[in-house]
């Protein structure tokens, strides 16, 4: 493999991984605070992609590619983020909040229910055919010394880096972020310290869902929009979160990028058939669970009586 080919795969892996990372953040933030897997996260991503698609097509109309299409794409992304944030909060309020004191199995089952409702309602309302989200810009690849990069990939990199840095700053530097970290450490103590835990949990769902919406739109540009698009992507993002150590925000970012690279190089370099590309993520999951179940950056948690 030549050096330019290597950089090509590296680039492809990084962009795929950036999307996984954005989605993985939602899993990891919710897990960090509520200690449960939000199975509906992948379906929120799908809803986000649909909203983005409709708003973008509506705003754009017949306009040719240009500044306006670019602006309307970002408006669509913003609308989608806000709507998905609200959707995430609503789901938490209706389907998870009443179960906070129930057995550990209850919220998981409820989440599977929500996931099923979302994906099948989408199939009912929007139909099962896949739709194309058009590029808001001219997607002619640009060549840098043998390495071909599409403007779409640049968009993915720029958007995911901005999102991740903003999130990191938000969690590390703001009052709300501090409240989130406190809640994830110990919910009861946080409550005693005057933190409004309900608000923190709502906020966590809102942020996670908004990031999922962005991930959904970015992935839709390459892979189209359809009602079950969130399932596989969501699963892989979850694997990414586990690899990085679930509950750990930086870990999720790293895990996402690592998984993206593994998938790209697995197919391109190690000759794994494309049909079995989706199984790479699960191989990684089983492996990490066997070797280092707490993930690369996770803390080992002792169960206490």
């Amino acid at each position: 493999m030549g050096i330019s080919e290597f950089f090509q795969h590296l680039m492809n892996g990084l962009t795929l991984g950036g999307i996984y990372a954005l989605i993985a953040l939602g899993y990891t933030m919710v897990y960090g605070i509520l200690k449960f897997i939000n199975f509906a996260h992948g379906d929120i991503l799908m809803v986000g992609a649909y909203i983005g698609l409709f708003v973008f097509d509506g705003l754009r109309g017949d306009a040719p590619l240009g500044t306006w299409t670019f602006v309307s794409f970002f408006i669509a992304m913003l609308v989608s983020m806000v709507s998905c944030g609200l959707l995430g909060m609503a789901i938490e309020r209706i389907a998870y909040k009443p179960l906070r004191k129930a057995t550990r199995l209850a919220p998981l089952l409820s989440a599977i229910g929500v996931s099923f409702i979302l994906s099948n309602s989408a199939a009912w309302v929007f139909g099962t055919q896949s739709r194309k989200l058009n590029y808001p810009f001219d997607n002619t690849p640009i060549s840098f010394g043998g390495v071909v990069i599409t403007p779409h990939q640049i968009l993915i990199l720029v958007v995911s880096v901005i999102m991740m840095v903003t999130l990191k700053l938000f969690v590390d530097r703001t009052r709300m972020g501090k409240a989130m970290r406190a809640t994830s450490l110990d919910q009861d103590t946080a409550m005693l310290m005057g933190i409004n835990v309900n608000k923190v949990i709502s906020m966590t769902f809102a942020i996670g869902s908004a990031l999922a919406a962005v991930g959904g739109i970015l992935i839709a540009l390459d892979y189209k929009v359809y009602p079950t698009m969130g399932t596989m992507t969501g699963l892989k993002a979850f694997v990414a979160a586990v690899v990085g150590g679930i509950g750990n925000i930086s870990g999720a970012m790293f895990g996402g990028i690592l998984l993206g690279l593994l998938e790209t190089f697995g197919v391109a370099v190690f000759g794994i058939p494309t049909g079995l590309k989706d199984t790479i993520a699960f191989g990684v999951l089983i492996l990490i669970l066997l070797i280092k179940p707490e993930g690369l950056f996770g803390k080992v948690e002792k169960e206490k009586v």
Binding site: F36, I37, F39, I94, A95, P98, L99, A102, T103, R104, L105, A106, P107, L108, L109, S110, I112, G113, V114, S115, F116, I117, L118, N120, S121, A123, W124, T231, M232, L235, F238, V239, V242, P273, G275, L276, D278, T279, A281, F282, L285, I286, L289, L290, P293, E303, V305
Partner: protein, 304 residues
């Protein structure tokens, strides 16, 4: 119409077997497994391949189907069951998808998306159990369900059943009482897988063909729904749940409204059932079956 009702009963029976398996895993063991469809598929394909390519009789393929599912249950259970419960859900979900993926792609063995047709009908003492004449088949299914119910009911009252209940209620307490939690969890998982394999085998000889499209994630969620609706930790409830869910899923055809009701109706309803049951009636319609040990016995002795 009556014939259609028989069909629903047969499917209720096949799914009841899977629900019984799910109930051992989820209701007794407290583990969330999402791959009954995967074990179902393995059982179906074991019977289909052995019967069509090697000419085995259905009764010879049945134990192989059960054993093969059990082995896969062991393979997926051993690494994941040592960890916290949530991972099992994801690992099993992934496993179910991988099974379907492999069935779709391994053309030389499974004939890919086309599936396997012309599976021979089962014989019993020279009498062919023809799935088109539904009575005989229904009787066979009912016998299977009764046997499974009886065996698992005994199992639930045995040392293993009690150990599993203890593990579900409190792992740490169970462990400190000397219960090997991983061992019992793996047992439960393997048994649940085996009975799903048997259900798969029956499904293969009922529809006389198998295709990968039958064994989707939806099937796993349906089975889960049956157990949740009926009541976790109660085998009667699992069978009742299987019947109700089958009625719901054939409701549009049964009432002749299939042109009005969207095809997604049942899946949306399954989702709603899971959420609503968890919030308002987590114990299910029938509730958990509480086993009383010795008490009945003592009363009997006292009355004598």
């Amino acid at each position: 119409m009556f014939n259609f009702f028989l069909l629903i009963l047969i499917y209720s029976g096949i799914y009841a077997l899977m629900a019984i398996g799910q109930n051992v895993i989820t209701g007794y063991g407290g583990m969330l497994s999402l791959c009954q469809a995967g074990f179902f598929a393995i059982g179906s394909y074991a019977t289909a391949i052995l019967a069509t390519q090697f000419g085995w009789s259905f009764w010879a393929t049945l134990p192989v189907a059960a054993l093969l599912s059990a082995v896969f249950g062991l393979l997926i259970g051993l690494p994941t069951l040592r960890l916290k419960g949530d991972y099992l859900a994801i690992a099993t979900l992934g496993f179910g998808e991988i099974v379907r993926n492999v069935l779709n792609n391994w053309d030389s063995l499974t004939n890919g998306p086309m599936g396997i047709q012309k599976i021979p009908m089962p014989d019993l003492f020279g009498f062919t159990i023809n799935p088109y004449r539904k009575y005989a088949f229904l009787v066979m299914i009912i016998i299977f369900v009764i046997i499974a119910y009886y065996l698992f009911q005994r199992l639930a009252r045995s040392r293993m059943g009690r150990a599993l209940t203890a593990v579900r209620e409190d792992e740490i307490a169970a462990q400190s009482m000397g219960i090997n939690i991983t061992k019992y969890k793996v047992y439960a998982f393997v048994l649940g897988a085996a009975v799903a394999g048997i259900a798969g085998s029956l499904q293969a000889v009922f529809s006389l063909s198998v295709t990968p499209g039958t064994y989707t994630f939806m099937v796993s969620v349906m089975v889960l729904c049956m157990v949740v609706l009926g009541g976790m930790g109660n085998f009667k409830a699992a069978i009742l749940g299987a019947f109700i869910i089958q009625l719901i899923s054939y409701f549009p055809q049964l009432t002749g409204l299939s042109s009005v009701i969207p095809p997604q109706f049942k899946q949306i309803l399954f989702g709603l059932i899971l959420v609503v049951m968890m919030i308002w009636r987590p114990q299910g319609l029938l509730g958990r079956e509480e086993h009383t040990y010795g008490k009945k016995h003592a009363q009997k002795r006292g009355s004598k």
